[in-house]
């Protein structure tokens, strides 16, 4: 579990204090906001935090405790390198992969699964082996994962025409034309899965920078997924709904605001060959919080929670002055570091690394992030399933809804009866991201709770009395949006380059938000740092 029980209780007490307006308009359950620390983050932006007066020497400062920062620290610790600190703004590490816990179940705060990696992703396989998830390799050299970690059947269902159906693509009521387009689309994905460039590289790989940069691949990025579909004449409403769902789910974007490159990446990168199923998914009740826990095991004492890096400046060649604010102690802290791993989103780089503006004029502003709302709904009892229709699954999607539906947190704990926690997701997919963020933050606890309730009531009319509480998490910058033209932009390619001893690590640097990308960037940045400090061992990548 990400949170120890006592910590959780403390944080939920604080959260219930925030929920002071509950019951005023008679919701029969409690609802509260859980982190992230929006205020603290915004104070950084307005420069309200004081400057430190002294600077403690340290070899490396890792700024940011999401998967990238944790991955970097994990890599450093794996080399026996101990002279570093990891600063995390929140009270606990994990970022959007964090998990929570209450009396009923562990649950994710955000990212809740990772596709089982192929043998081409050594860092993730190493992590999974450490966590006991990877059990070995089969005769073909492909990894074997513990059965209990793979998402158990039934995996997905969709609600349409008043009942639940198996799968995410709605087969019920599909016309021959729909089916033809569906098969044509997947044939095209198979083609891309098989495609190789002159150097034998695949078009789409995870991590993505292993893939081909051939013009044919890059050309996909110059159009939206919608335009790409239009050009092929694929107009099937249910196919486009299905693909847009994929865009909303993976990128917090629509067909129009997703690059065709990213849209195809979603389907082609996880195939090992044509016709084969996508990789199975690995998931845990606490979502990717499971992997967060595994990562930090190696360096837990190096983590400084509730500490926010406010600025990074080069003092002299090889010396970086890192300014930070310790929210717990309410005082500024400073480090004099040889290297920094900057494992925060790029939009924060603009605030914390002043010299970056001059160095990379092509723009930090090309990075845009979709806001998300994640609500954990604790249920005293599951609603009765109708006699007809597909049974409760891991992922439960509502076709006629702006939400992504809900994931059952107890599914992977094998629990099929009794109390449970459902994690409900909604990305804000509009084109104007600032407006979308404002729209989300304008919603009070009650508004959010009512929105979720109304959404769930469409498919579970009797659910209201079964709800014990809702914990609402608002991510203002949940995931980088792979807009058309962004995934192969110069700005994105240059953002990975070190700057004055600052090494960058974040899933943003791939243009798409994936745990695999974040981990790989973390490991890469740490290995760059180790090499620069003369500690380079064999690469883990």
């Amino acid at each position: 579990m990400v949170l120890k029980r006592r910590e959780f209780l403390a944080s939920s007490l604080a959260a219930s204090a925030l929920a002071c307006r509950r019951r005023r308009r008679g919701l029969p359950f409690e609802a509260a906001f859980l982190g992230p620390a929006v205020d603290l983050g915004h104070r950084l932006r307005w420069g309200e935090l004081k400057e430190p007066s002294s600077f403690e020497p340290v070899d490396v400062v890792v700024a940011g405790g999401g998967i990238a920062g944790l991955g970097a620290a994990w890599r450093l610790a794996g080399e026996g390198f101990g002279n570093f600190v990891l600063c995390e703004m929140e009270d606990d590490v994990g970022g959007t992969s964090r998990g929570g816990l209450n009396g009923v179940s562990a649950f994710p705060w955000g990212a809740h699964y990772v596709p089982a990696p192929s043998r081409d992703n050594p860092p993730l396989l190493r992590l999974l082996r450490e966590a006991g998830v990877l059990e070995g390799f089969d005769v073909k050299g492909e990894p074997i994962f513990g059965e209990q970690f793979l998402v158990r059947a039934p995996e997905e269902r969709i609600h349409a025409y008043g009942q639940w159906w198996e799968g995410l693509y709605l087969k019920a009521g599909a016309s021959p034309g729909d089916e033809a387009e569906y098969h044509a689309f997947f044939a095209e994905m198979d083609r891309w899965a098989l495609w190789r460039d002159g150097a034998g590289r695949k078009a789409f790989t995870i991590p993505r920078w292993r893939g081909s940069d051939a013009p044919e691949v890059q050309a996909l990025d110059r159009q939206s997924f919608a335009q790409w579909l239009d050009r092929r004449g694929w107009r099937s409403e249910r196919l486009r709904w299905f693909l847009e769902y994929a865009c909303r789910d993976d990128y917090g974007a629509t067909l129009e605001t997703t690059s065709a490159w990213a849209g195809i990446f979603y389907f082609a990168a996880r195939k090992t060959g044509p016709g084969e199923e996508s990789r199975p998914l690995l998931s845990w009740p606490e979502g990717n919080g499971f992997l967060v826990n595994q990562l930090r095991r190696a360096f837990a004492s190096k983590v400084r929670p509730r500490t926010i890096v406010t600025s990074i400046r080069q003092a002299t060649e090889g010396i970086l002055l890192v300014h930070a604010w310790d929210e717990g102690a309410q005082r500024p802290v400073g480090w004099q570091a040889r290297k920094v791993v900057f494992a925060l989103p790029q939009y924060l780089a603009a605030h914390t690394i002043p010299s970056l503006w001059e160095a990379r004029p092509e723009g930090l502003e090309s990075f845009t992030q979709s806001p998300w709302m994640v609500v954990n709904v604790t249920l005293r009892e599951r609603p009765k399933e109708p006699p007809l229709g597909f049974p409760l699954s891991w992922d439960n999607v509502i076709r006629d809804s702006p939400s992504l539906g809900y994931v059952v947190a107890t599914h992977q704990a094998l629990k099929d009866h009794g109390p449970t926690v459902w994690t409900w997701y909604q990305p804000f997919t509009g084109p104007d991201l600032k407006a979308e963020r404002e729209r989300m933050y304008a919603l009070g606890v009650q508004d959010c709770a009512r929105m979720v309730l109304a959404d769930l009531q469409r498919v579970h009319p009797g659910i209201e009395p079964l709800i014990a509480r809702m914990d609402i998490i608002r991510w203002g910058h949940a995931m980088v949006r792979p807009r058309p033209g962004f995934c192969w932009s110069v700005a994105l390619q240059r953002a990975r380059e070190p700057h004055q001893g600052i090494h960058f690590a974040h899933t943003d640097l791939s243009g798409i938000a994936l745990l695999e990308e974040a981990l790989d960037h973390g490991v890469r940045a740490a290995e760059e740092v180790l090499a620069a400090l003369g500690r380079g061992g064999a690469s883990w990548r």
Partner: protein, 519 residues
């Protein structure tokens, strides 16, 4: 059975009213008597189903009923005016109380702990009302008929009516209609007699509109009840269950239904037959004893599922067993098996055995979370067939691996594995899954009337031979028949199938496809 104190009609209490049709009123006596007896039989039958010990149940029900009739007869002397009106009102009261008695009793048993008080209150009420009716009727007819003819006529028809009820009940009503409908039907008959009486007695009633309206209301209530009688079962269950439903209970996890008919009783979970008392011994002997025979001497036994306690009964026959842990999801099921008389008798009060420990939890979650306690020498896995994902997970490699962690190195496991004839691929899928989870497996099978051909798997983490010697005192199994179960005829031989894993649950699909062909 229907004797009652003969009350001489006191002379000169009421004025004799205008003439009414005596023979037709005598006919109502016949109906009333039949109805009264039927309610009594319904209560007696129902309580012996639910509480067991039919001699005790019938004796007490009859005793309460007759004494209540005595009470009613005595109370009749306090009714001095409006005899005809009271008579009709009583008809309606009996109609309502008697008519809904079976439904009310089933409901009480399933949802409260007050079955006996409600039972005797109902029987007492019906008895009292019926006891009031005959004296009232005699007094109504007093001036119309000679006293000797009156007494002869009323009592004759009273006893004949009782005979009619007592013959109709076992021969026609119970088998065709069941308890709930029978009592409702007789309620309607009672109410109809009330309605009819308003015409027969109209000369004594005065304005009868209100009374008739009441009659119609009661008739509508009972008629409504009759059309809703299926609510005690599901509409589909009506077709599934060929026999009378004696218990229906929705627990948090499943719907438990017990039926009774043709000299045996049956248990269904979510509409699936779990056993019939007529031939379950074949199944449970085959499930349990080969595992003991293959590796004698096991002292610590695990039973997964099998909340009915019947596998437990077979396990407990082995004196060397010192400890049995039974893990069943549903506490209502194990409670019922421990307390319901028919079940308790059939499982020989297995739950009262001090060697038995009950855990009410999902067996898979329990296995996953159990990280202390000594390993088991023998496990009996007796889950319902894999007709849902929640059940299908209990047949996966993951389940069998979790189970293996709790076993000794050479433990024996017996697994109920659906029918190798009706669901051949499902059967072999279960066996292939056991093998994939690291067990040595031997298939065996059995024939029984209620299930047809049924299959099991005998498995162990260590190699073992076909068992040769079993207990001498069993009803079905002998040494040669036990060995014979391990021979497979050609139409049930192994077929290639995929292994059932948590992340594919192929078995649920296989099973649904195969059984669809037979239904």
């Amino acid at each position: 059975m229907n004797e009652r104190p003969e009350l001489p009609a006191p002379e000169g209490w009421e004025e004799a009213g205008p003439r009414i049709s005596a023979p037709l009123l005598f006919l109502t006596v016949l109906v009333i008597a039949a109805c009264g007896l039927v309610y009594e039989l319904v209560a007696g039958t129902l309580s012996s189903y639910l509480l067991g010990d039919s001699v005790l149940q019938f004796s007490t029900v009859i005793g309460v009923y007759l004494s209540a009739m005595g009470l009613g007869s005595y109370l009749s002397k306090f009714i001095t005016r409006g005899l005809a009106r009271r008579f009709v009102d009583l008809q309606l009261a009996v109609a309502l109380v008697g008519g809904f008695s079976a439904a009310l009793l089933f409901h009480t048993y399933a949802h409260t702990h007050a079955f006996r008080p409600v039972l005797y209150a109902l029987v007492g009420a019906v008895g009292t009302f019926v006891g009031l009716e005959i004296p009232l009727l005699m007094r109504i007819l007093k001036g119309q008929v000679k006293f000797k003819d009156l007494v002869a006529g009323v009592l004759t028809l009273d006893y004949i009516g009782a005979l009619a009820g007592s013959l109709l009940f076992p021969l026609f009503l119970m088998p065709k209609l069941g308890l709930v409908r029978t009592s409702l039907l007789f309620g309607i008959l009672n109410a109809f007699v009330g309605f009819w009486s308003t015409f027969l007695l109209r000369s004594q009633l005065g304005p009868a509109f209100g009374l008739r309206l009441r009659c119609v209301l009661v008739l509508v209530c009972l008629g409504g009840g009759l059309t809703q009688a299926h609510r005690f079962t599901l509409a589909t269950e009506e077709e599934i269950f060929q026999d009378e439903i004696i218990l229906a209970k929705d627990t948090r996890y499943q719907r438990i239904v017990m039926t009774r008919g043709r000299g045996s009783f049956q248990l269904f979970l979510n509409g699936q037959l779990q056993f019939s008392s007529a031939d379950e011994y074949r199944y449970h002997e085959a499930l349990v004893h080969p595992a003991f025979a293959a590796r004698p001497g096991g002292t610590r036994v695990l039973v997964c599922g099998g909340g009915d306690g019947l596998a437990l009964r077979e396990v407990l026959r082995h004196p060397e067993v010192r400890e049995v842990t039974l893990v069943d999801l549903d506490p209502e099921m194990t409670r019922l098996a421990a307390e319901q008389p028919l079940l308790r008798e059939l499982n020989r009060a297995a739950y009262a055995d001090p060697r038995v420990k009950v855990v009410n939890q999902d067996a898979m979650v329990w296995l996953q979370e159990r990280n202390q306690g000594p390993p088991f020498d023998l496990a009996v896995v007796d889950f319902p067939d894999p007709n849902s994902y929640a059940l299908g997970k209990l047949y996966t490699t993951r389940f069998y691996r979790l189970l293996r962690r709790q076993l000794t190195k050479d433990a024996m496991v017996a697994v109920q594995s659906t029918s190798p004839l009706f669901a051949r691929r499902s059967y072999w899928c279960i066996l292939a899954t056991l093998e994939a989870a690291g067990y040595q497996v031997r298939p065996y099978h059995l024939a029984m009337p209620s299930f047809g051909v049924w299959g099991f798997a005998l498995a162990s983490p260590a190699p073992f031979e076909v068992p040769r010697h079993t207990l001498p005192e069993l009803r079905h199994l002998t040494d040669p028949t036990m060995q014979g179960m391990f021979a497979f005829p050609r139409d049930m031989e192994r077929v290639p199938v995929e292994v059932n894993r948590l992340d594919n649950q192929v078995l649920v699909h296989l099973y649904a496809g195969e059984w669809r062909r037979w239904s």
